[in-house]
Amino acid sequence: MEQRFHPRIAPENMGQSLSVLRPAAALALALPSPVNAAQAAEAPLNYFMRSYGPASEPTMYLGWVLAGLSVIIMLIISLLLIVALLRNRPSMDMRMIGPESGGLRWIYIGTGISTFILFGLVIYSLLVLDAVAKPPSTPAITVTVTGYDWWWRIEYEHDDPEQTVTTANELHIPVGEPVLIRLKSADVIHAFWVPTLAGKTQMIPGLINQQWIQADSPGIYAGQCAQFCGAGHARMSLEVVAESAEDFERWRNAQRRPVSSPFRPGSTGEFGQRLFMDRCGGCHAVRGTDAAGRHAPDLTHLNSRRWLAAGLLLNTPEDLMNWIVNAQRLKPGSRMPSIALSETEKSALSTYLSTLD
């Protein structure tokens, strides 16, 4: 499963920990950084040097042209200024005042050249706008992403509600084709931004904005909320996982499956499940059970996700329990309360949650 999830992981990296950890967590531990090899270890949101799809590539080149020109113009102006300051002048009586006329040629030539360059840039930037504003072909897949304080609901809608897939903070897309993203907000304004794939778009309550993304190679692309939305704004990340069409279909089918793990009455798992229904089910949903909350991430396939709490913690059993018990300390102001649990309750809940794969 992890091979499909991330094709570039070397098997030996994962070997040691597999016995104690579930696959998704093992994968996560094996990765020192959430970026894949194609994105290099440094700065996963670096859109200036990296682009992995046609919705961002023309913009990256535009950035290079504009930045390059800016540096050149800056150097020319600095040079002019330095020469103007330091050039040799015949020594002059400081009481003398130079004539007012003259020098207008500086303005005519300087402004003339600037205007010429600016008009060229207007045309170039409008061409780029035209290239990235709309996808080359009509997207076959539409995903609705809804911003919440401070996480992302991700829904793959289907005519049959049973077939609708709901997940959080991890957006899967098939490689090499445009995907339409419908952007909504459940509370305040957020902005959806996966910089190496496309520019940002605000998610505004009461409006449905759209943008498209396309990844040309399989991999994991980092995203981040880009509109200040309150205390948790800094901790509101997401990931786009691009995979082959078959892998994507397989993932989607797996996500559609409701849970079906009846526990033996009196078992730890059953106790954990009851605990979950009592304490968590009001906000979280686990399809196939009584837990049907809409205020918080759908946890039906919690263990298929790499991160917890919108990119805050790696999804390991330890960090999961840490998050449940210390949510307010780890992400102050979050809608997730810190939940007081006894050791027995912790282990029961852990057992139950470990079945949500």
Partner: protein
């Protein structure tokens, strides 16, 4: 010497002003001083309407706000110096960055320029005061009270926390339940009153109060800058005041202007805010560019190259500036056609800036630079202006802005613009006009140190922010993870910001030292060209013993300029005496031909009380003390009536002409 061209129609009010001389120490000069000087002691302190006192109060108050905002920034830079630091909680950080923005943009950047303009305009224009001296005092008091008002909730840990542009619904009643946003909203409406009355004063002053002969093409560029900014403020302040007032209604009265659940529109806020916000950006840089355009030539020993072009560029900037607000909203999902138009306009707006840059460089090139401290600040400013302008052009490209928007690249850009184009000219301007303000020179040696430390610290601190933005760092995050690759740039930025702060500290030390021990300055220590340097330093209460008659753009260089607008023979020693009470001359808007003797109002404490009662009324609204609010509004009206009460002494003019001005 031209005579009054349009005598009052009522013959009882007709009077031919005496023309003569009033050298220092003469009977006439002593009488003028008696007429114009404020009472000593706290009474005079409270009631003075002297534009110079008000101007200095503006400058000092705004600079205090700059220091407060700067300390907020330093605390934030400590928090961001490394990844995952926990000096501040997210909520504390959010309040700090909000107050930093509010303070710098609203309580420092425009007020400091209003301070310069208030102090300098009448002196540059050859007038004895602004048109509406009492309105001027009111403008200052309300600014002061609004500033205190906006900080009122800060010590309670309840400062505004939604950013200076305060987007709804985060700033709405559901997501921000404390008093913080109400403080901000009401404070902004209050501050809007101050800015509006101040702007009215500038506009009317320019068109009515210039010395005879100072035709419209002879006014200094600072005047053009402040005029343009003031006209823009009059047009756009209503938008932001309305936005904040509607927000307050949503929060406290239960209206639904921005409430999605009841058909309100969050996007409406963004439009109302940026329709104001972008012209405001130009309002807080154009007068500062004017400072450079006027002061730089002094140190180049020649007039500014292309005066008319620079003046026109100033106004062109603002004209286009009304059509670029959408470039703050490129990422809101508006149609691409709309974005293209506003994007193109955002490119075009850099053309007038190019005019100014080449005018400054040509002035330096063709002149003979004198490397005094103010000149260093102005020359350094040119570089910062170009960097800020170029990064601005990058954000004008719509698709690139979809990446740059809301990242540290924008933070870098706006600091190059606001510090580079506002703070550097302002500090340079203080070095330049300090002798005029105080009668003493600032220390050159400390001055050069302050420039170099500020300049190096500024670039070390803010240039890496561009890189942080290109590496994808969003603005307004209270912390970041080490895996994002932003550690180094942030550490450099934090170090640079502290170096910059040390530079500011050196400047303050220089001010303190020079106030006591600076060498005495004569009336024109820099051998400058404009009219403010023709009066003693510091200037007497009446500014000009006689109203000068102006014949050129550079009255104090006329003896050495033989062509262009330098030709002519201004009369500075001999002119209208005007000493039957506080008087100055009113002139025609374009040609500045004398039209009327303006009777100026005396000192009065009523502006203070009007401002105080109005501010208390806003405080009452904040606290829901409705009857107190009513009482304060009533008090305000009474104070206004006392202020406006007709005075016989002020009635010496044609009733049909400008009688409205008589009672201000």
């Amino acid at each position: 010497m031209s005579a009054i061209t349009r005598p009052p129609s009522d013959s009882r009010l007709r009077r031919s002003p005496d023309i003569g001389q009033a050298p220092v120490g003469s009977d006439a000069e002593i009488r003028l001083a008696e007429i114009w000087e404020s009472l000593p002691g706290w009474k005079g302190w409270l009631s003075t309407v002297d534009h110079k006192v008000i101007g200095l109060r503006y400058i000092v108050t705004a600079f205090v706000f700059l220091l407060i905002g700067g300390m907020e920034a330093l605390i934030m830079r400590l928090q961001l110096a490394g990844p995952n630091l926990t000096l501040l909680t997210p909520e504390q950080y959010n309040q700090l960055f909000t107050m930093h923005g509010v303070t710098m943009i609203f309580l420092y950047a425009l007020p400091i320029l209003s301070g310069f303009s208030n102090y300098l305009w009448p002196l540059m224009l050859g007038s004895r005061d602004m048109t509406f001296p009492r309105l001027n005092a009111l403008s200052y008091w309300i600014f002061l009270f609004a500033g205190i008002f906006m900080y009122a909730s800060f010590p309670l840990g309840q400062a505004p926390n939604a950013g200076w542009f305060n987007y709804v619904p985060y700033s709405g009643p559901i997501y921000n339940t404390g008093p913080n946003i109400d403080v901000f909203a009401l404070g902004m409406v209050l501050l809007g009153v101050s800015t509006t009355v101040g702007s009215v004063n500038f506009v009317v002053t320019l068109f009515k109060m210039r010395a005879p002969g100072m035709t419209i093409n002879r006014v200094p560029i600072l005047v053009w800058g402040t005029l343009t900014a003031s006209v823009a403020n009059l047009l756009v302040i209503p938008s932001v005041s309305l936005a904040f007032f509607l927000l307050w209604l949503d929060r406290q009265v239960g209206t639904h202007f921005f409430d999605v659940a009841n058909g309100g529109k969050p996007l409406l806020w963004q439009h109302l805010f940026w329709i104001f916000g972008h012209p405001w950006v130009y309002a807080i840089v154009l007068p500062a560019m004017g400072i450079v355009s006027d002061a730089l030539p002094t140190f180049c020993r020649r007039p500014l190259v292309g005066y008319a072009w620079v003046a026109l560029a100033t106004m062109a900037t603002m004209l286009v500036g009304f059509e670029v607000w959408i470039h703050h909203m490129f990422a809101t999902g508006l149609p691409a056609v709309a974005l293209s138009i506003f994007g193109a306009a955002s490119f075009v707006i850099s053309i007038p800036s190019a005019v100014a840059v080449f005018a400054w460089i040509a002035t330096i090139w063709l002149g003979t630079p004198v490397f005094k401290t103010p000149f260093l600040f102005f020359a350094g400013f040119v570089i910062l202006f170009v960097i800020g302008g170029l990064s601005g052009v990058m954000t004008a490209a719509v698709p690139l802005d979809w990446q740059l928007n809301e990242t540290y690249f924008i933070v870098a850009h706006l600091h190059y613009v606001l510090l580079g184009i506002n703070v550097f000219p302002v500090v340079g301007g203080i070095y330049y006009w300090f002798p005029k303000f105080t009668g003493r020179m600032m220390d050159e040696k400390i001055g050069k140190w302050s420039f170099w430390v500020m300049f190096i610290g500024f670039n070390a601190g803010f240039f890496p922010m561009h890189l942080a933005g290109l590496l994808g760092m969003p603005r307004r995050i209270y912390t970041y993870s080490s895996r994002m690759g932003w550690d180094t740039v942030n550490l450099i930025t934090s170090i640079g910001s502290f170096v910059f702060a040390i530079g500011v500290l050196i400047f303050l030390v220089n001010v303190a030292v020079s106030l006591r021990r600076g060498t005495r300055a004569g009336s024109n220590p820099w051998d400058a060209a404009t009219l403010e340097w023709s009066v003693p330093s510091p200037p007497p209460a009446y500014n000009f013993a006689v109203i000068p008659h102006i014949a050129s753009r550079h009255p104090l260089w006329e003896d050495r300029l033989n062509e262009g607008e330098g030709t002519g023979q201004s009369s500075l020693e001999k002119g209208y005496l005007l000493m039957e009470g506080r008087e100055t001359i009113g002139t025609s808007p374009i040609d500045a031909t004398p039209e009327i003797i303006l009777k100026m109002p005396g000192d009065s404490a009523t502006p203070f009380f009007v401002g105080l009662f109005l501010s208390l009324a806003f405080a009452g609204m904040l606290l829901h003390w409705w009857s107190f609010t009513g009482l304060m509004i009533l008090s305000c009206i009474i104070a206004l009536m006392v202020w406006m009460w007709p005075e016989k002494a002020l009635a010496q003019r044609s009733p049909t002409d400008s009688s409205r001005e008589a009672h201000v």
